[in-house]
């Protein structure tokens, strides 16, 4: 069993009356609500948390791409992954991922992922999401009717750019390039493992199965709701005669660990509420542009995670509802162990995307929950899925070939004019 510690990087300080007073957390959220000084603190806190997860032995660190929103502050997850390459040693960098239809030309993604792979010594997982309707259609103006066609073309171009040793010309419908000749090329050859994050589109399952990629279902409604999608995926895999290898399914789950079940509620309840009722407060009109989902997905009855129905369902939910409905797995280490084991077995899932910073949760709680999980839960679940080979994790350089950043020293303190560089004193105290 593998664990990726996933960060959404939310804005933690939306006002209490946000849901009542504001139209949407995404697309047209007022810019006044973002304070870049607070943002500075948040980015650095969040990178600290990811680095701590590396230290605690998680297999992967997860980041992803969203635009014009307070739900996740990473228009470019590659920047966060780049920041993580230097101060983490062990964990894989799971960039889940770049919405490849949005880049012009899409070889930009092939280049940046190759850079990250080389920089990290082959620790990259390359994620190719279509992207939410809010991000792709509304923020980036992609025509819904052609988004998926453009996505598939971008995918073909990126894979060829990685795989083909000789330069080639690419005459696509959306991208035309006379010279495709990728420098640098990825360290993992021919390319990093590819994970396809999805929200439950039926076409994505065929695509994943046909290419032997890993499918990551990024739901926030827990394993009970996720079962329908997981079953749909496994049915497609079975029909195509593919191995039902648990490592080919990733699943995102909100998890919060405390000393006892009661303490978990006291610690985390309000932050869960913040997440479900503020971070996911998306105006329904932005959730599903016409043509974003295909008629077959609509007919399959797979409703989106955001939008009117989702929002109504969540109205007035209590901590008990979050727990009972499986949105959140929380409690003492023993409780979390049992429920998570049940969830993973139900889903046949070998890669857990664990969400431990959620909503407005402050750093000290994130650290506690992560620490408890790493020490008292994770080791007890490692035994799941013996006999299956994980074909979807990176192949990094051997330890003796990995470059190590040179140590930095701030003695004597470096000054920039009159102002001493902020952070220097903190680093000094931690070096002692």
């Amino acid at each position: 069993m593998k664990f990726t510690w996933f960060h959404l990087m939310p804005y933690r300080f939306l006002p209490d009356d946000f849901k009542k007073k504001y139209h949407s957390v995404w697309v047209d959220i007022p810019r006044d609500l973002y304070d870049p000084k607070v943002g500075h603190r948040l980015y650095n806190d969040y990178l600290d948390q990811l680095e701590f997860a590396d230290h605690m032995g998680f297999d992967g660190l997860g980041v992803n791409e969203h635009h014009q929103n307070a739900y996740g502050l990473m228009p470019s997850p590659n920047i966060m992954a780049a920041a993580l390459t230097r101060r983490t040693r062990n964990a894989n960098l799971v960039v889940l991922g770049n919405s490849i239809a949005l880049y012009n030309p899409p070889v930009r993604v092939a280049e940046e992922f190759a850079m990250l792979d080389v920089l990290s010594g082959g620790r990259l997982v390359a994620g190719f999401p279509v992207g939410t309707s809010m991000d792709t259609n509304f923020c980036y103006g992609e025509v819904p009717a052609t988004l998926r066609e453009k996505y598939f073309e971008a995918h073909d171009l990126i894979i060829r750019a990685w795989k083909e040793n000789d330069q080639f010309a690419f005459n696509g419908k959306f991208t035309k390039l006379r010279y495709v000749n990728l420098w640098p090329k990825p360290l993992q050859q021919p390319h990093p493992p590819i994970w396809i994050p999805g929200g439950g589109s039926v076409e994505t399952w065929d695509f994943v199965a046909d290419h032997d990629y890993q499918y990551s279902f990024l739901s926030f409604f827990g394993y009970k709701a996720g079962k329908k999608v997981a079953d749909g995926y496994w049915n497609v895999m079975a029909k195509k005669g593919k191995e039902l290898n648990p490592f080919s399914l990733g699943f995102a789950q909100v998890v919060a660990v405390a000393e006892t079940d009661e303490q978990a509620e006291r610690d985390y309840a309000k932050h869960m509420d913040y997440f479900y009722n503020r971070c996911l407060h998306v105006y329904p009109g932005f959730a599903d542009a016409p043509g974003y989902r295909t008629p077959s997905t609509i007919k399959a009855g797979l409703t989106g995670q955001v939008g009117k129905n989702a929002s109504i369902t969540r109205e007035g939910l209590t901590w008990k509802d979050f727990i009972d409905d499986g949105y959140v797995i929380a409690g003492s280490p023993a409780t979390v162990r049992d429920r998570l084991r049940e969830a993973l077995k139900t889903l046949n899932c070998g890669h857990l995307m664990i969400l431990q910073q959620i909503g407005s949760m402050p750093p000290e709680l994130v650290r506690k929950s992560t620490d408890l999980f790493a020490r008292e839960v994770m080791p007890h679940l490692r035994d799941l899925w013996p006999g299956f080979e994980d074909k979807w994790s990176p192949h990094r350089l051997p330890a003796n070939e990995m470059a190590v950043p040179a140590p930095i020293s701030f003695e004597p303190p470096i000054t920039n004019g009159k102002t001493q560089r902020r952070g220097a004193s903190e680093i000094r105290s931690s070096v002692k």
Partner: protein, 261 residues
């Protein structure tokens, strides 16, 4: 009468309403499409032979995957006119259909005998942005589309069968199909360069607007008027974007008089 027409060696199949007799009149519908209850077509049929095709992606018309942009769409209408043996006709286009009718007329100036653009899309004015109908809340649509959102007509046209899940899904899928086809011309900004080509339109042109059109406000009629040399503006009172449904008698009178003059 409903007909089904194959075009371009079967690339397209076109469902079409054909009404009345007289000089040919090709009606190009808007992004919402024909509703199945479109009495203005019957009215026009008293003096014209009205052809109202469903654009591929709408109703039973297929082949939308062969239309990527307004040029493809205009050539589709050229093909259809040739197939119907009406290489030149009166063109009447509403909203998105106005945008496409203007393209049909600009790309080949012989196609339009006369042109009527009704609440037409095709331009973008920064000072008068067109609201995002794709993202509009269902509850807000009546006020956007109609002069009188409380009228029985507005309520009926936008009624949803909330307690019939099957019908609701079918309607939703059809709406997605239609708007998805329309998104190729209208998303995210309904401007595909018509202003570069519009000067070519030679046919006498009527720019017909509902006075309280809130989707494409009458200021756009004046913009079209600036660029089309042989054009005039007529606004109809107590009508919004769905002018031919809201004021059918005046709509019919003004269009018929213009086309027959």
């Amino acid at each position: 009468m409903k007909t089904h027409q194959k075009l371009c060696d079967g690339k397209f199949s076109v469902e079409m309403e054909v009404v009345g007799k007289g000089e040919p009149l090709l009606f190009l519908h808007g992004a919402g499409g024909l509703t199945g209850a479109d009495p203005f077509l019957e009215d026009l049929g008293r003096n014209f032979k009205v052809y109202a095709p469903h654009l591929p992606g709408y109703g039973e018309s297929t082949g939308g995957e062969h239309i990527d942009d307004v040029i493809d769409a205009a050539l589709f209408y050229h093909e259809l006119m040739d197939e119907l043996k009406i290489p030149s006709a009166n063109l009447v286009g509403h909203s998105m259909g106005g945008m496409l009718a203007a393209e049909v007329a600009a790309l080949d100036t012989r196609r339009a005998k006369k042109l009527v653009l009704v609440g037409s899309a095709g331009f973008w004015l920064d000072d008068n942005p067109i609201p995002d109908l794709f993202a509009a809340d269902l509850d807000d649509l009546p006020a956007m589309l109609f002069h009188d959102p409380k009228s029985p007509l507005a309520q009926m046209m936008l009624a949803m069968p909330w307690d019939d899940q099957e019908l609701l899904t079918a309607m939703y899928v059809e709406r997605v199909k239609r708007f998805s086809a329309a998104s190729k011309f209208l998303w995210p900004i309904p401007d595909r360069g018509l202003k570069k080509r519009v000067y070519r339109i030679a046919a006498p042109t009527l720019l017909l607007w509902g006075e309280s059109d809130k989707v494409i406000p009458p200021v756009y009629a004046r913009e079209f008027h600036k660029h089309i040399r042989n054009s005039r503006v007529h606004t109809i009172k107590q009508a919004g974007h769905m002018v031919m449904y809201e004021q059918p008698a005046e709509f019919d009178k003004v269009v018929t008089e213009f086309l027959m003059s």
